[in-house]
């Protein structure tokens, strides 16, 4: 039986919290006072889904701001990495988009008013009722990965956080796997499939067009299917795609994108913490945060944005929420858009779900990750929380 793990070095955590408070306060000033600073959840509630807003305090801590019902229904679970929240920070159009996997629609919410601006559905055959609808966007288009129908829907962003459906395309992994993770950089969309394969698409015309580079990842081949890419990130300069693998250890893969296509991935094994489904780069791209989905820890790996190499960094202790609430760990979000991101937030799937909060410190190629004493924050609406995001979003 897992027993709750409580921090012993409370004084050390308090010291870290004080330092974090200062960092967060400074970065909060830098972000400007006019924009709200929220952590936003897609609660993925079956039948009547909700989106919950938490105000991010100057110390990185969360307080409930409010919630709203979307226009549709969630499903209460699914792929860990399918990102059910996407954020747009455009002048006059500050929005959070949340997918309703049960009803198959995407709702846009005005972050400032916390009111629904509009919603849209894909084609009649688009479905995410199996494992969710993932979202990724640039300023003009939002792309939705329908995990049930194995399609990518293209939606055009409209004023007032509305959307209009453009079209959809059918996709499939090399072993007929279903679409899982997505990330966008410029005119490139990179996707993972739940069968070990990865593929990139040209989105310069709006609708994704395959770059013809679909391939099995190196880890998938080497492990004979025991590990496969799940989450995906693209560096700020677009040179590398980083994949977080579902595996029995911590494993990420990096593909060079300098040719405009995916190249053979390089595998980095980073320790025995279990699985790496969800990943997120720090704003300064020095750290790669990894949610050890079944391993109840968060890993911080060192990332070299010049070479694309990943190396061992630090691993948190076992998170409290995981141990006491039957949670899986899933989506990641960051407090600030500078440095290493300030506080790290982690979606904890469970009954009820919660949001873990960790402090990070990093210097000279070393890092530490510590859960805050007040963590986790219960997300009372949800027993199926997998996806979170912070507004304003990271710029890449």
């Amino acid at each position: 039986m897992r027993m709750p793990v409580w921090p012993k070095a409370v004084s050390r955590l308090v010291s870290s919290s004080v330092a974090l408070l200062w960092i967060c306060f400074a970065s909060g000033l830098a972000q400007g006072a006019s924009q709200p600073h929220y952590l936003i959840t897609n609660d993925d509630v079956p039948f009547v889904n909700t989106v919950t807003f938490y105000a991010v305090g100057a110390n990185g801590l969360l307080s409930l701001k409010g919630d709203l019902q979307t226009v549709g229904a969630g499903i209460g679970g699914g792929f860990f990495n399918t990102n059910r929240v996407s954020l747009l920070n455009s002048t006059g159009n500050e929005c959070v988009y949340a997918s309703d996997a049960g009803s198959g629609d995407i709702v846009g919410v005005n972050v400032n008013t916390m009111e629904v601006g509009g919603s849209a559905s894909g084609s009649s055959t688009d479905s995410g009722a199996t494992n969710g609808i993932g979202l990724a966007m640039n300023g003009q288009y939002l792309y939705a990965s329908f995990t049930g129908s194995n399609t990518i829907g293209t939606f055009q962003v409209q004023p007032g956080c509305a959307l209009s459906f453009v079209n959809d395309i059918a996709v499939a992994g090399l072993q007929a796997g279903f679409i899982d993770g997505m990330a966008i950089h410029g005119n490139l969309l990179v996707a993972t499939f739940g069968d070990g394969s990865i593929e990139s698409f040209d989105i310069s015309s709006g609708t994704p067009v395959s770059n013809g580079d679909e391939q099995n990842s190196t880890a998938y081949v080497k492990s004979q299917g025991a590990a496969y890419p799940n989450g995906v990130e693209i560096t700020k300069d677009g040179r590398y795609a980083i994949f977080g693998d579902t595996s029995t250890s911590t494993m990420v893969e990096v593909s060079n994108l300098s040719t405009g296509k995916l190249n053979k991935t390089v595998v980095y094994s980073l320790g025995t913490a279990i699985s790496s489904s969800n990943i997120m780069l720090s704003p300064d791209e020095t750290l790669l945060y990894i949610s050890n989905t079944q391993g109840d820890t968060i890993t911080g790996a060192m990332f070299n944005k010049s070479t694309g190499k990943v190396s061992t960094g630090c691993v948190s202790g076992k998170l409290k929420g995981y141990s006491s609430r039957w949670s899986y760990l899933a989506g990641l979000a960051l407090d600030t858009n500078a440095g290493t991101g300030g506080a790290i937030y982690v979606a904890e799937f469970g009954a009820p779900s919660s949001i873990a909060m960790l402090a990070v410190s990093s210097s000279s190629g070393k890092c530490t990750l510590q859960e805050l004493p007040s963590s986790p924050m219960t997300d009372a609406n949800s027993s199926g929380l997998l996806s979170i995001g912070t507004f304003p979003p990271r710029s890449f």
Binding site: M1, R2, P46, F47, I75, G76, G77, G78, F79, F80, N81, T82, G102, A129, T130, N131, G132, T147, G148, G177, F178, D180, G194, G225, A226, Y228, N230, T246, T248, S249, T272, I274, S275, S277, T293, Q294, G295, D296, W326, Y328, F349, G350, A351, S383, G384, L386
Partner: protein
């Protein structure tokens, strides 16, 4: 498609009741004296009975699936079926689960399978059938077939007719639904009952004259697919519900009782103990998985995996002592669900045994026959096989793939239309080594036969027990894979046919951690 089904099913079990009707009998209140289920006995070599599968939702939102047995005073739930070796079990099973479910809830159309048995149609949450867990009987239609048998709501009662072998080991077996993809939901709702093959006293005379108790431990999740809180129940009485008193087992001071305990939970590994004044007591183990031990042995902890059974003698504590029957916490590994310590019952020594006693084991009327699987140790195996459990997690209900694989074959989940992954023939005796390459403990079970334990992690076991379900501990992520080596006995020609082996964590079984084996005549 399967996951769509599961989501909708889960939604329904979250409170969208299927409708009125087919109400299950009420279940006992917390803190009351634990009663054995009604026993139904064979007469003149035949046990003729009818079970009606019903459904209702209780006031706390738990879905109840129930085997209703009609008595002159009304229906009772999940009677204990009692047969002698050589008896005929004639069981009519009707499905009265309310219909009206959406078509999206359907599994595959079983009518399309070769040899389809029963009502055919789509496998759904409302479909049912019966597996007679542990019985060494034929895997064919109207007997112990789960691959093609489907009983649909509203159809006439389906007739099972099973000859209990004369060499069937005496002991505790159990029955439960086994519709692929939906087993978890009905067992979670309580659809499980005990089956006793009489005659233990012929092989283990230690039990003669003792008061016999039959305890079925079940498990109920409010939402089976979420790894959240659950309740264990003891003969349908909720055990250790927060704020509610525990069930009560009555014993007379100084007496010994013969307890027959079935683990009918979805996934709870139960290390059983009897505490007296907080100290675990030695328990005299008589049989495991319905097979008498070669010799009784004393254990303070009896680990019973999901679907396993343990039969043991319990001495009543001295007057004034505080005694509890508990299931300890059990670690199922980094990716496993948590099995918490649960108080199953308090032992009440203040009352006489008049309420507790249900039956007494009679003296042996005749000499014991040779049991099935006798002499297995001395037989040279005709084949060696290696199998392994493994998992992939990509989401909460997505490709959480649960595999059991014959080493060298491709990992794949079970499909009703698949070809058998193992083919052998009557007369074969095989040694199987089963590894666990997953970060979660699994419970291996094979239909139709018992197997002999040979090794654990490459080391010979001290007791070569005959089992039908065995735990294989989780892999830690490094080092050798945990394993068990067992001897499979396919000598009995009556078990020729196609049947399954699988993990008896029922979610795993429903999601495909199962495959077919064919035993050729």
């Amino acid at each position: 498609m399967r996951t769509i089904t599961r989501c909708l099913l889960a939604a329904l079990t979250c409170g969208f009741a299927l409708g009125a009707g087919a109400q299950c009998p009420s279940r006992p209140a917390s803190g009351t004296v634990v009663q054995d289920a009604l026993s139904v006995y064979s007469q003149n070599g035949v046990l003729n009975a009818g079970l009606d599968m019903g459904y209702s939702v209780d006031t706390y939102g738990y879905s109840h699936y129930c085997y209703k047995y009609q008595t002159p005073t009304g229906p009772v739930e999940s009677p204990t079926l009692r047969l002698n070796p050589g008896d005929q079990l004639v069981l009519g099973v009707q499905d009265s689960i309310p219909t009206g479910s959406p078509s999206a809830m359907s599994g595959m159309d079983m009518s399309s399978l070769p040899g389809a048995c029963g009502d055919g149609g789509n496998a759904t949450l409302q479909s049912t059938n019966v597996h007679f867990h542990g019985l060494n009987v034929p895997p064919i239609c109207h007997q112990d077939d789960v691959l093609t048998t489907l009983i649909q709501p509203g159809a006439p009662a389906f007739k099972y007719s099973i000859q209990i072998p004369t060499t069937e080991p005496p002991g505790l077996y159990w029955y439960h639904p086994h519709v692929h993809g939906f087993t978890e939901f009905q067992v979670n709702g309580g659809a499980a009952g005990a089956l006793v093959v009489e005659g233990m006293e012929k092989y283990r005379p230690e039990v003669t004259g003792l008061t016999e108790r039959v305890f079925v431990v079940r498990q109920q999740y409010l939402v089976p697919w979420v790894p959240g809180p659950y309740q264990l129940t003891l003969n349908y009485q909720v055990a250790a519900s927060p704020g509610a008193p525990a069930p009560v087992i009555q014993m007379a001071p100084g007496e010994k009782q013969f307890w027959r305990v079935a683990n009918a939970t979805l996934q709870d590994f139960m290390p059983l103990q009897l505490w007296v004044n907080g100290v675990p007591q030695p328990l005299e183990v008589i049989a495991l998985d319905g097979y008498p031990l070669a010799a009784p042995r004393y254990e303070t902890t009896i680990l019973v995996p999901p679907a396993g059974r343990a039969e043991f003698i319990v001495p009543a504590p001295a007057t004034g002592a505080s005694a509890q029957f508990v299931s300890l916490a059990y670690s199922t590994g980094p990716t496993g669900n948590q099995d918490f310590e649960q108080l199953l019952a308090n032992i009440d020594l203040s009352s006489s045994k008049k309420q507790a006693a249900k039956s007494t084991v009679p003296p042996a009327p005749s000499a014991a026959n040779g049991l099935k699987f006798s002499g297995l140790k001395e037989i040279a195996p005709t084949a060696q096989r290696n199998l392994y459990f493994s998992e992939e997690f990509g989401g909460t209900n997505g490709p959480i793939q649960f595999y059991i694989t014959v080493d060298g074959q491709k990992q794949q989940v079970f499909s009703p239309t698949e070809k058998p992954v193992i083919t052998t023939k009557v007369g074969a005796v095989e040694d199987w080594t089963i590894e666990n390459r997953a970060l979660e403990t699994h419970a291996f079970h094979i239909h139709q036969i018992h197997f002999m334990m040979l090794e654990v992690n490459g080391q010979p076991v001290p007791n070569e027990d005959l089992r039908d379900t065995i735990e294989i501990p989780y892999w830690s992520g490094s080092g050798p894979y945990p394993s068990v080596k067992v001897r499979m006995d396919f000598r009995d020609p009556t078990i020729a046919g196609t049947f399954v082996f699988h993990c008896h964590i029922l979610l795993h079984e429903d999601l495909g951690m199962m495959h077919k084996i064919q035993v050729l005549p």
